[in-house]
C-alpha cells in the first residue's frame, strides 16, 4: 500500500526479490536488525505528488508494471498525471515510462539534462531539467539537482521545498525485512546502521573502493549542509522522517568500509 508521507506526497514501494542471501553470505549472518525467518528486500521506490499539479518521480521496475498503474489510478482518482519525472533511465527506475505515458497521455515527461545520448533512451523529446530548475505544483515546489553520488551521468536528484524533502537516487539505499515493508525508518524495531547500508552501497556504489575517502566524506558533509533536509525519500530505502542529518552521516563509515574491504557483490 502506498503511504502518505506528508499531505499530498505519497511513497510507493516495490519490494522485489528475497535477498536473504546478502546477509547469510556475510561474516555476520545474524545482525540485530535481521530476522532469518523473514525475507529481505532491496526495493524500488516511486513518489507521487497529488497537488494542484500532479507529479510522479520514477516509475518502479517492469516487475511492477500493473501495480504502478493501479496505484496511480487509486491515488489520482480520476485526475490527470501532469508530470512524470525520471531520475535516470535505468530500467528499475524508468522501465514503466512508456506504459504510464500511454495511460496518462497528457503527462509531460521530465528527464535529467545531464549526460549524453538522450535519444538512446527515448528521452530526446522530454523536458530536460537540472540544477536551478523547478516545477510549481501548487502547495509543493519540486527542484531538480545534479546528483551528488551517481552511477551514470544521465542522472538527477530532486528536492521539495515545502516539506524540505531530499529524494536521493541510488544513495542511502538499504534492505528491509518483510515486517518493515512500507514502514518509515523511525517505525523500525532497530535503527539503520552502517552495516545495513553496506548491503546496498557495497553493491551499487562499488566505485567507492577506488576513491579518495576524505574527498567523498567532505562531499557528504557538504550534502548535509547544503540541503539539511527534514525528510529523506530514497529510491532504494524506506523513508526517513527523523534525525535525517545523522542518518546521512552514517554513510561516511560506509564509504570507509567499501574503500577498505571492496565491494560485497552486485545488485540488479
Amino acid at each position: 500500500m502506498p503511504r502518505e508521507v506528508r499531505d499530498s506526497l505519497y511513497w510507493i514501494q516495490e519490494c522485489g526479490a528475497d535477498r536473504s542471501n546478502f546477509v547469510e553470505e556475510t561474516s555476520d549472518p545474524n545482525p540485530v536488525w535481521y530476522n532469518e525467518d523473514e525475507e529481505l528486500h532491496i526495493g524500488q521506490c516511486a513518489y507521487l505528488f497529488t497537488d494542484d499539479q500532479t507529479l510522479l518521480f520514477d516509475t518502479l521496475s517492469p516487475a511492477s508494471s500493473d501495480r504502478i498503474i493501479a496505484v496511480l489510478d487509486e491515488l489520482l482518482a480520476g485526475d490527470d498525471l501532469d508530470y512524470l519525472a525520471v531520475s535516470h533511465p535505468d530500467v528499475p527506475h524508468a522501465g514503466n515510462t512508456a506504459r504510464i505515458l500511454r495511460e496518462y497521455p497528457e503527462a509531460t515527461l521530465v528527464a535529467p539534462k545531464y549526460g549524453t545520448g538522450h535519444e538512446l533512451y527515448h528521452l530526446d523529446d522530454a523536458m530536460h531539467v537540472g540544477e536551478g530548475d523547478t516545477i510549481d505544483l501548487g502547495t509543493n515546489t519540486v527542484a531538480f539537482h545534479e546528483a551528488t553520488f551517481l552511477d551514470a551521468a544521465l542522472h538527477m536528484w530532486m528536492t521539495e521545498t515545502t516539506t524540505n524533502t531530499l529524494f536521493p537516487v541510488d544513495w542511502f539505499g538499504y534492505p528491509h525485512t518483510n515486517s518493515e515493508c512500507g514502514l518509515f525508518a523511525d517505525e523500525f524495531d532497530h535503527a539503520i546502521t552502517p552495516d545495513r547500508l553496506m548491503h546496498f552501497h557495497g553493491r551499487v556504489l562499488f566505485w567507492y573502493q577506488y576513491v579518495d575517502v576524505e574527498k567523498v566524506n567532505a562531499e557528504i558533509d557538504q550534502l548535509i549542509e547544503s540541503y539539511d533536509p527534514d525528510l529523506l525519500a530514497p529510491a532504494h530505502g524506506n523513508v526517513v522522517r527523523e534525525n535525517v542529518s545523522d542518518h546521512m552521516r552514517l554513510m561516511k563509515q560506509v564509504v570507509q568500509d567499501i574503500n577498505q574491504d571492496g565491494r560485497v557483490g552486485a545488485l540488479g
Partner: protein, 250 residues
C-alpha cells in the same frame, strides 16, 4: 560498418553524436563456424543497421546466442527484437533480477567473477573497475583472448575515425578523446584515487593478457597499444579528479 578484429570476431560499430564528436555504441559478433554469438544487442536507435550487418556477416543465418554486458538501453535495446528475428537465441545476462531489469525470464545468468560456456566457447565475466551499473560485467573470450569492455576503456572520436582501431589511429587514441569520454560518462571519477584505479585495471590485464580490449564505447585496442592507452587513461582520471573540488572545501 564492420571491422574484423580476428579470424572469428567482428566489430559492428555504431555511433551517436556527443557535442562536436561521436561515441561508439558497438556490438561484437563471434563466428563459431556456423553458429554466432553477439556481445550486447546495441541500442534501439541503431537496430536496423545492426540487423543488416548481422544478416550480412552470417549469410542470413542470424545469431544463436546473445551475451549482455548489462541491462541498459544502449546495450540491451534489441534483445526482444533479435530473439524474435532469429530462432532459438539463447540469452546470457549478468542480472540476477531479470523481471526488474525488463529482461526475459529465461535468460541464463552469468555470475560476475564466474565462467560459462556458451555454444562450447568459454567466457569469463569480470568485475569491471570502470562501470556505470552495479551488474555490469566485462566479458573475456578465452578462445580469442578478446576482452569486451562495457562502459570503460572508451573514447569519443571524430566521424572520420569511426571505423579505426587504436592501431590505425595516427598517434593512437587521443588523450582528449579518452578524457572526454570518461569525464562525461563516469562522473564518479571526480572522486577517484588514480593509483587505486590503475591497480585494479592492471590486475585484470595481468590475469587475462587480452589480445584486444574491445570497448562498447570506443576503438578496439590491440595488446601492443594497451600500455599507451593505460597511461592516457590514468592521466585522464587524475585530471578529472584534480579538476573537481568539493564545494566549500577550497
Amino acid at each position: 560498418m564492420t571491422v574484423r578484429l580476428s579470424h572469428d570476431t567482428i566489430w559492428i560499430n555504431e555511433s551517436h553524436s556527443v557535442g562536436a564528436h561521436s561515441e561508439h555504441v558497438s556490438v561484437y559478433l563471434i563466428d563459431l563456424g556456423g553458429e554466432y554469438i553477439l556481445i550486447d544487442s546495441g541500442s534501439f536507435h541503431h537496430r536496423d543497421s545492426i540487423k543488416t550487418a548481422i544478416d550480412r556477416e552470417t549469410d542470413g543465418e542470424g545469431i544463436d546466442a546473445l551475451i549482455l554486458s548489462h541491462s541498459d538501453y544502449p546495450h540491451s535495446g534489441n534483445v526482444d527484437e533479435f530473439r524474435n528475428e532469429w530462432d532459438d537465441v539463447e540469452l546470457v545476462a549478468s542480472s540476477g533480477s531479470p523481471a526488474v531489469q525488463g529482461l526475459p525470464t529465461d535468460a541464463r545468468k552469468c555470475s560476475i567473477g564466474g565462467e560459462l560456456e556458451v555454444l562450447g566457447r568459454k567466457f569469463s565475466f569480470i568485475d569491471p573497475p570502470l562501470a556505470d551499473r552495479s551488474h555490469t560485467t566485462w566479458i573475456y573470450d578465452h578462445e580469442s583472448g578478446i576482452l569486451f569492455a562495457a562502459d570503460g576503456m572508451g573514447s569519443t572520436h571524430t566521424a572520420a575515425d569511426r571505423n579505426k582501431t587504436a592501431a590505425e589511429l595516427e598517434g593512437g587514441i587521443s588523450y582528449d578523446h579518452i578524457y572526454e569520454f570518461h569525464h562525461d560518462t563516469l562522473v564518479w571519477l571526480r572522486y577517484v584515487d588514480p593509483s587505486k584505479l590503475r591497480g585494479a585495471i592492471e590486475d585484470i590485464l595481468e590475469e587475462y593478457h587480452p589480445t584486444y580490449i574491445a570497448p562498447i564505447h570506443g576503438h578496439p585496442i590491440p595488446a601492443n597499444a594497451l600500455d599507451e592507452y593505460m597511461e592516457k587513461l590514468i592521466k585522464a582520471a587524475d585530471q578529472i579528479a584534480t579538476e573537481y573540488e568539493v564545494p566549500g572545501q577550497t
